[in-house]
């Protein structure tokens, strides 16, 4: 699994272009999330793709060839945080509810809705953690589930920000030191 973060123009059709590209490259997407950034003209995508490192390199380079993609970067090998959010509706009656609640607590999930026959758990975390909770809940009967797909961010000072005229100029300046010795 490879994780690519991209900043794209926040306008209609961009998601379609990205999806169309992955289809053309025959790369299967596991999850793709899009959300706004602090700049309303720019959206941030997290693309999790079933491919190897060289497939990811090609996807990353091909993404940047799209006019509306400002930057795409494979962060799979970098120190990063990944989060997925899930809402899970589990069958629960009066008898097993306390037991169920205990389990959910262990996974740091929150019960956000309780009905006579079911309850809804909200849980966020890594994919593994959510999968782990699911495993435990399955014997009770998982009635419905919604997951957001992953978002990811590199840790610490490793910043991945949308490019601006100023940041590009600064990067260019840094490079204009004699190219080849």
């Amino acid at each position: 699994m490879q994780t690519i973060v991209a900043y794209v123009e926040n306008k209609p059709g961009v998601l379609n272009r990205v999806a169309s590209l992955t289809r053309r490259l025959a790369i299967n997407i596991d999850s793709l999330t899009v959300g706004p950034t602090e700049n309303e003209e720019i959206a941030r995508m997290t693309i999790c793709a079933h491919t190897d490192e060289s497939g990811a390199r090609r996807l990353e380079a091909s993404l940047e060839k799209l006019v509306d993609v400002l930057v795409a970067e494979n962060i799979s090998e970098r120190s990063m945080l990944e989060r997925d959010l899930a809402l899970i509706k589990v069958a629960a009656d009066q008898q097993n509810r306390p037991h169920l609640m205990e389990l959910i607590k262990v996974f740091r999930g929150r019960v956000v809705d309780v009905a006579p026959e079911s309850l809804i758990v909200e849980v966020s975390g890594t994919v593994d953690k959510i999968d782990g909770l699911l495993e435990v809940l399955r014997p009770f009967g998982v009635l419905e589930m919604a997951r957001t797909g992953r978002i990811a961010m590199t840790r610490g000072g490793d910043l991945l920000r949308p490019p601006t005229a100023a940041s590009n100029a600064a990067a260019k300046d840094k490079d204009s030191a004699p190219a080849s010795s």
Binding site: R57, R58, V67, P163, T164, N168, A171, S180
Partner: protein, 570 residues
């Protein structure tokens, strides 16, 4: 000054230096046509919108500038699809402008409405719908920049009818392109660069693989210096032909599926390959597992996405071919690879001394002779435009191009029907040049309607149909790989000379070898378009041939008897 969107479009195209537009009118683009009538733009009426895109493509390939094609919405736009994909695969800068139904009708399945930006998304470098008159000029300017920068490619701009009709203030300076602020990438990687230099300076059996990127970069001069300094022989991709003179002793010729045996053998024996502006297409490499196993590989390529795509390389330099070669030049030592060159000459064996021109006339007419004669008579100076198939490969083998942009052919997509319209486009780009269409009898019938365009535009091009009564390359595959079961390849054609006459073009049938040169000469002498129908040997095949998926050195060689085709020495 208040102008309509249609007028703004024409004004913008004029300011961008456009002279000729290839197109076909219709309801959703009518406002633009009305404005074209009042502009300085010259509109070439095609007979099918596929022809318009191929003409714009041929125009772009011959000139190095951007070609412009125009069509109406719906079927007009969808007819462009093959031409757009052709331009995409061969990195050709084409801007397609299509009319679209009015913005309030979008999504309503209105008459002649089609989602052309959706359809062409994977086959354009970029595409965009414009539904506001204020966006027309800026978008067209952006389209021209995108089409002809970096690795060029087609851009489609779909303009709604209401945007064409609406009026707006037109101030050129207020329509500056505003492309998204891409992250600046420094592609210079000193480690890769140093490794490339080291490999170049230590190789004993190096071969340069020269591709179209050299032509697109305009790097012919730098490339020649590079070849001279490093003393490395050059093998060409089909689209690279012309980036280095075919008559230069350092030029080995075309590589790949129908490359000469010594070229492919040299690549397989090489200890270093320097790929410049090419993408290791499967037609060039054959089986990847056995491809150039002894060779280290350097890849110089403007498109980062091509690096390590098909062939893993030892040193990759991402960048413009000309700039990269210029950067490398001061670091490479003057080398002498004469021993390696002598070995390659040995590989040529007797094919190097046989000349098809000296073969006795067996009473048969062979395509190789026709094309080699065309080369001799035109002194290699014509722009030759080909389709795809046997005639295309024979052209690449027997017409020796010394100058860039003189072979225009559909390489990546392999589009039948490309040659005739692309040649019309090339003629508009280079009115002073001699332009020849070399085309098969199958492909010619796909777009032969454009003969009418030639007549209406009164342009002079010559057409050589290599007529063997078969879809020749497919027949050849059936002969080699399907036990000669010629399913759906025998091809009935009209009398092409009579067909030409019906269009008002002089046509002539040529059946004997002695008639070839006089026919070519008389076509050249005429100041009007001439069509020559060369009735060549029907079951002739292109040799050598690397079967699809076979190793590059596992070639089917030319049969010795009849000794009809041998390599021709430039």
């Amino acid at each position: 000054m208040k102008l309509t969107g249609a007028q703004i479009l024409c004004e913008t195209l004029e300011r961008l230096g456009v002279r000729d537009i290839f197109g076909y009118p219709g309801g959703a683009i009518l406002p633009v046509y009305d404005a074209i009538g009042k502009s300085k733009l010259h509109h070439v009426l095609v007979r099918h919108e596929q022809g318009a895109t191929h003409m714009a493509d041929g125009y772009a390939r011959a000139s190095g500038g951007v070609g412009v094609a125009m069509a109406t919405s719906g079927p007009g736009a969808t007819n462009m699809v093959t031409g757009i994909a052709t331009a995409m695969l061969d990195s050709s800068p084409v801007v397609c402008i299509t009319g679209q139904v009015s913005s309030k009708l979008l999504g309503s399945d209105a008459f002649q409405e089609v989602d052309i930006t959706g359809i062409t998304m994977p086959i354009t470098k970029h595409n965009v719908v414009v539904s506001r008159v204020e966006d027309i000029a800026r978008t067209i300017r952006e389209a021209f920049i995108i089409a002809n920068s970096g690795r060029p490619g087609p851009v489609l701009v779909d303009i709604t009818k209401d945007a064409q009709q609406a009026t707006a203030d037109f101030v050129w300076d207020a329509t500056t392109p505003q492309l998204p602020p891409k992250r600046y990438r420094n592609n210079h990687d000193q480690k890769e660069f140093d490794r490339a230099v080291e490999l170049l300076n230590s190789a004993k059996r190096p071969v340069i693989l020269a591709g179209r990127g050299i032509v697109l970069s305009g790097a012919m001069g730098t490339f020649e210096k590079f070849v001279r300094t490093s003393d490395i022989p050059v093998a060409m991709t089909l689209l690279g032909i012309g980036c280095f003179p075919a008559t230069d002793p350092m030029n080995l010729g075309m590589m790949g599926m129908h490359g000469e045996a010594w070229v492919n053998t040299a690549i397989q024996e090489a200890d270093l390959l320097i790929a410049v502006g090419m993408r290791f297409d499967d037609r060039v490499t054959g089986d990847l597992r056995t491809y150039a196993r002894n060779a280290r590989k350097i890849h110089i390529e403007v498109d980062r996405a091509e690096i390590n795509k098909n062939v893993k390389v030892d040193a990759a330099i991402v960048g413009d071919a000309g700039e990269t070669l210029a950067n490398l030049l001061p670091h490479i030592h003057e080398r002498d690879h004469s021993a390696w060159m002598a070995h390659i000459k040995e590989l040529k064996g007797d094919s190097a001394v046989r000349d098809i021109q000296t073969l006795p006339d067996s009473g048969h007419l062979y395509a190789a002779h026709v094309i080699n004669d065309l080369w001799k008579v035109t002194k290699g100076g014509a722009i030759v435009v080909t389709d795809v198939g046997q005639h295309q490969m024979w052209e690449a083998q027997y017409y020796h191009h010394d100058a860039p942009r003189t072979l225009i052919t559909s390489g990546g997509l392999g589009t039948m029907g490309f040659a005739l319209p692309a040649a019309i486009g090339a003629k508009f780009a280079k009115p002073e040049s001699e332009v020849w269409v070399v085309v098969g009898d199958g492909g010619f019938q796909m777009t032969s309607c454009e003969l009418a365009t030639i007549v209406q535009e009164k342009i002079k091009i010559n057409i050589a149909i290599i007529n063997n009564g078969y879809l020749g390359m497919v027949r050849q595959w059936q002969e080699f790989f399907y036990d000669k079961r010629y399913v759906a390849t025998p091809l009935v054609a009209p009398d092409f000379a009579a067909l030409a006459n019906a269009f008002g073009i002089r046509g002539e049938r040529v059946t004997g070898r002695k008639e070839v040169v006089p026919a070519i000469e008389s076509a050249r002498d005429s100041d009007q378009a001439v069509l020559l129908d060369f009735r060549v040997e029907q079951e002739d095949s292109v040799y050598p041939m690397v079967p699809a998926g076979a190793a590059l050195h596992e070639m089917i060689r030319r049969p010795n008897n009849p000794l009809v085709e041998t390599a021709s020495e430039p």
